[in-house]
Symmetry: C2
Subunit: 191 residues, 2 copies
């Protein structure tokens, strides 16, 4: 029963490149080094196979938490943003295809949207703690700042391969985003 995983993996690659319509069962079977019939015997249909692919690539499984109370905001956030960036970057091709097919295949909506609200919530709570403990400006627009930080992570993961010059060097990006973010919510940069 090793075929199942080979097919899943191959289907993920092919779907990421060509989308649902372009991910023909022949291509997937060839990529997996498996007979096309095996694919149908294992998953029943192309639709079911690609649903299994998205299920397997669960995004929001174990989104890491942020500490409360905050000890070193810049370091903690930089690490968290770096992790998140890496995860989104890895899922990028699947996400792009899923989003582009939202109209035609609404069942992918859960995969495409899942996680964003959670992430927003985690960051907001962390900032609320910063304000509560007097580390952040209580009048700051935390909601908008969090939205911007998340958009920056998504934008970096999605856009960098297309227009690399519009982004800071990949190893500096998390820290620089976080520093801007902290200034926006009034956290003094020193320590």
């Amino acid at each position: 029963m090793v075929s199942r995983e080979r097919i899943l993996e191959a289907a993920g690659r092919v779907y990421a490149k060509h989308g649902f319509r372009g991910a023909t069962t022949r291509l997937i079977a060839a990529e997996a080094g498996v007979n096309e019939v095996t694919l149908f015997r294992t998953f029943g249909s192309k639709g079911a196979l690609l649903e299994a692919v998205l299920d397997q690539n669960d995004f929001c499984s174990d989104v890491s938490q942020l500490p409360d109370p905050a000890v070193n905001p810049e370091e903690e956030l930089t690490g968290w943003v770096g992790e998140h960036l890496e995860r989104v970057r890895h899922l990028r091709p699947l996400l792009i295809q899923a989003i582009s097919e939202l109209d035609e295949r609404p069942e992918v909506a859960e995969f495409a949207c899942r996680g964003r609200d959670e992430v927003h919530e985690i960051l907001s709570q962390y900032c609320a703690a910063l304000q509560r403990d007097g580390h952040a400006d209580p009048s700051a627009d935390v909601f908008a700042a969090v939205t911007m930080l998340i958009s920056s992570v998504m934008g970096d993961a999605m856009g960098r391969p297309m227009v690399p010059d519009s982004f800071p060097p990949v190893d500096e990006a998390p820290r620089r985003y976080v520093r801007c973010f902290l200034r926006a919510i009034g956290v003094s940069s020193s320590r």
Copy 2:
């Protein structure tokens, strides 16, 4: 020769919904209320037709400039961001399809990427002027902040239809993004 425009418009709608593979010539012809043969007589092939669609929806035509020197940063940027947001929001479905097809149809790369570098340049120059005239912190990371602002605009335009709760109300969004941005580069919010 009114068919040409009807076809172009219909093709834009169908392509935005279903992508290249899903935008069948039958669908487009039906949507345009035109015989399928007319489509081939007018554009030659499906590929040429959809290329014409992207050409027609030119994104970076007249990106509005920002004043130098700056007079009222918050107002000027809010207006500019609002305009930009509206433009991207309008192009969203086309952009998403084009991006998702970058691997298969590299000729759409120009359409998908065009504009981002320009926009970055315009904002950077505006901030440089702010720093030069003593309105912004000269030690601020303008590059990262500009990247974040642009990502926020793209993220809002792209993501709001999917996860509306993660964004500020649509009429407040531009101003709130700009305020965060100005704090990040050290522009005093007062006047």
